[in-house]
């Protein structure tokens, strides 16, 4: 599998999308849960020739995805994943969305049911800046990556790297490839988990049943 050079792609703003694309085998069937405007699916179709599908809650996102030629269903991942048959996708992807799910545990379980593999990316709430904001300022963090105030955020279920690996254990997901990115979007090399959990800003996990 040809890796995607994540630092030569100025057209893709989110590094985690390139990392995810690097984990997807060419020609596979992919479901992107909470696909937004379809940026990732479009990238996967172009770079990996995948057969892509998406679910998105917002009308604007669905319409932008349609205009890109993607197959996207307007719906709620918290409730609509049950409609998909078992093992009908090679990969089910949840990029930067799990923190906005009402029932993240159930969503992860469904993802592992309908996909052979699941890929989840999320911002690490254990990052030291978050801890510092809460610890020293006593306030919920508002940063470039987490730009919402506590009262109007769509993100209701933040987790740290440790929390997420714990959830994986609970639902019986095997962590095949954990990738942690630092604040500069660089992939952090092998380090103890406590170090990742403190300095990792973004995580991408490839999971299997």
């Amino acid at each position: 599998m040809t890796p995607i050079d994540i630092h030569s792609r100025a057209d893709v703003k989110r590094i985690d999308l390139l990392v995810i694309a690097g984990l997807v085998a060419p020609g596979s069937r992919v479901l992107d849960v909470g696909c937004g405007d379809g940026e990732l699916l479009a990238l996967l179709q172009k770079e990996r020739r995948v057969e892509g599908r998406g679910i998105e809650l917002s009308q604007a996102g669905v319409n932008e995805s349609l205009a890109r030629g993607l197959s996207v269903i307007q719906g709620d991942a918290d409730t609509d994943l049950v409609d998909y048959p078992d093992a009908c996708f090679d990969y089910v992807i949840l990029s930067d969305t799990i923190q906005a799910m009402v029932r993240p545990k159930q969503v992860l379980t469904e993802m592992l049911r309908i996909g052979r593999k699941a890929i989840v990316s999320f911002p690490n709430f254990g990052h030291w800046t978050v801890r510092a904001s809460l610890g020293f300022k006593g306030r919920m963090p508002v940063t470039e990556n987490l730009p919402y105030s506590w009262y109007d955020t769509p993100n209701i279920h933040f987790c740290t790297l440790r929390d997420f690996t714990g959830l994986c254990g609970e639902v019986g997901a095997k962590i095949e490839t954990p990738i942690v990115l630092d604040a500069g979007g660089r992939r952090m090399t092998s380090a103890p988990w406590w170090f990742w959990n403190l300095l990792g800003q973004q995580a991408v996990f490839l999971l299997s049943r």
């Binding site: 030629g69 197959s71 719906g75």
Partner: protein, 393 residues
């Protein structure tokens, strides 16, 4: 095309003429090409009235079949010869419109059982020289689609780039995609469902009973006897029209406002604007539509149930489909609520088909698919443009 007909005054006389000699293209199939019906009977000879817009390309790959709703007709993007009003989907079909006739060749035919030039109960039965009336066999949605396929064949088109339509038109879209999957590159079913619900059948029955209760219906022989069940047909239309709108939309439009008066008249005149509006809808409908056609076409919708032919499993109907689907529904549609569209989407997902789905927020009810709905237009345009890119690169 008999263009002289356009100068006729609107009214029942003009409507009557359209049944046999329509102001549009006509395709005729002789006794050697009968239309075989689900009922076991067949129709021959068969006449199909249709309109086209745009130009068919050299390899005949840019045709879009637009399917009309219950009381629509083939005049999708040109003036209606009976009412003189613009086509029913002029907002969607035309040069530069979401279904762009600069790019696509659009075909729209009057359904079999209709009254605008395709063989229907108002057509003259060649065997008797009298209008068919109830002698015409019952028609189903699959029958309508089979007749459309005969037309598409006769036009030399193997694969349709898209089959599109709302409501009953959407039923035809679904039927096309199931009956002729290899002939439908993309399918655009709007505000529709995989079957007619019990509630919908109930409303249709009210309409039919209103028509048949009119003494001027004469057992369906009113055309031969020179009468017309105008009151019954108008009531049928009034009842149906309510189901096309939403409570919220009606309230926004009329509320409890009074019609041309300061206070209620303590009688049964049209005190309220909404009553006056409904009466107008009923009366103008009578001018352009045939009562027996209304019976036939509502019955066709009632019988529609795709899953029934597939052991009750809708997903099996779409198994192996290569068609790209785009399903759309409206939040305030209670005739074909979103759940009906979602049933289709779920089945398409289960069968692994390519499907997109949009639920459009509006208070205008089922009728929204005929109105100015920018989100619907954007959806259609985006879907067709991207499908065209996939088809032609």
């Amino acid at each position: 095309m008999a263009s002289s007909r356009h100068s006729l005054p609107a009214g029942a006389g003009a409507a009557r003429g359209e049944a046999d000699t329509p102001s549009s293209h006509v395709m005729r199939f002789g006794l050697d090409q009968p239309l075989r019906l689900d009922s076991g009977q067949s129709i021959a000879p068969l006449q199909i009235a249709y309109q086209t817009y745009g130009t068919l390309n050299a390899d005949r790959s840019n045709a879009i079949l637009v399917c009309h709703a219950l009381t629509g007709d083939q005049h999708v993007a040109s003036d209606n010869p009976v009412t003189g009003k613009p086509g029913w989907w002029e907002t969607v079909v035309g040069p530069g419109k979401p279904i762009d006739t600069d790019r696509f060749f659009v075909v729209c035919s009057n359904v079999v059982g209709g009254c605008m030039g395709s063989t229907g109960p108002a057509s003259t039965n060649p065997a008797t020289g009298q209008p068919f009336g109830l002698d015409l066999p019952l028609i189903t949605i699959p029958d309508m689609v089979r007749a459309q396929a005969m037309l598409v064949d006769a036009l030399g088109i193997d694969q349709l780039f898209c089959v599109a339509g709302g409501s009953m038109g959407g039923m035809q879209v679904l039927q096309w995609s199931v009956a002729y999957p290899e002939r439908v590159f993309t399918a655009l079913p709007i505000a529709t469902g995989p079957r007619h619900s019990s509630q919908n059948i109930a409303f249709h029955e009210v309409g039919r009973q209103a028509i048949m209760a009119d003494p001027d219906w004469r057992g369906g022989r009113y055309l031969a006897e020179g009468t017309s069940p105008r009151k019954g047909l108008a009531v049928a239309r009034m009842a149906a029209h309510i189901t096309y709108m939403s409570d919220e939309g009606l309230h926004r439009k009329f509320g409890r406002a009074l019609q041309d008066r300061e206070r209620v008249a303590f009688g049964f005149d049209a005190d309220f604007q909404v009553e006056s509006y409904l009466r107008h809808q009923g009366l103008s409908f009578v001018e352009r539509f045939d009562a027996n056609s209304y019976l036939y076409v509502t019955r066709a919708m009632d019988y529609f149930d795709i899953a029934a032919d597939y052991g009750g499993r809708l997903a099996n109907a779409f198994r192996g489909s290569r068609t790209r689907f785009c399903v759309a529904s409206f939040t305030s549609d209670w005739l074909f609520p979103t759940i009906e569209s979602k049933t289709v989407v779920r089945a398409l997902n289960a069968s692994g088909a390519s499907v997109s789905f949009v639920e459009i927020e509006t208070d205008r009810g089922h009728d929204a698919f005929l109105l100015d709905e920018p989100v619907l237009f954007a959806t259609i345009r985006g879907f067709l443009t991207s499908a065209a890119a996939a088809r032609w690169g």
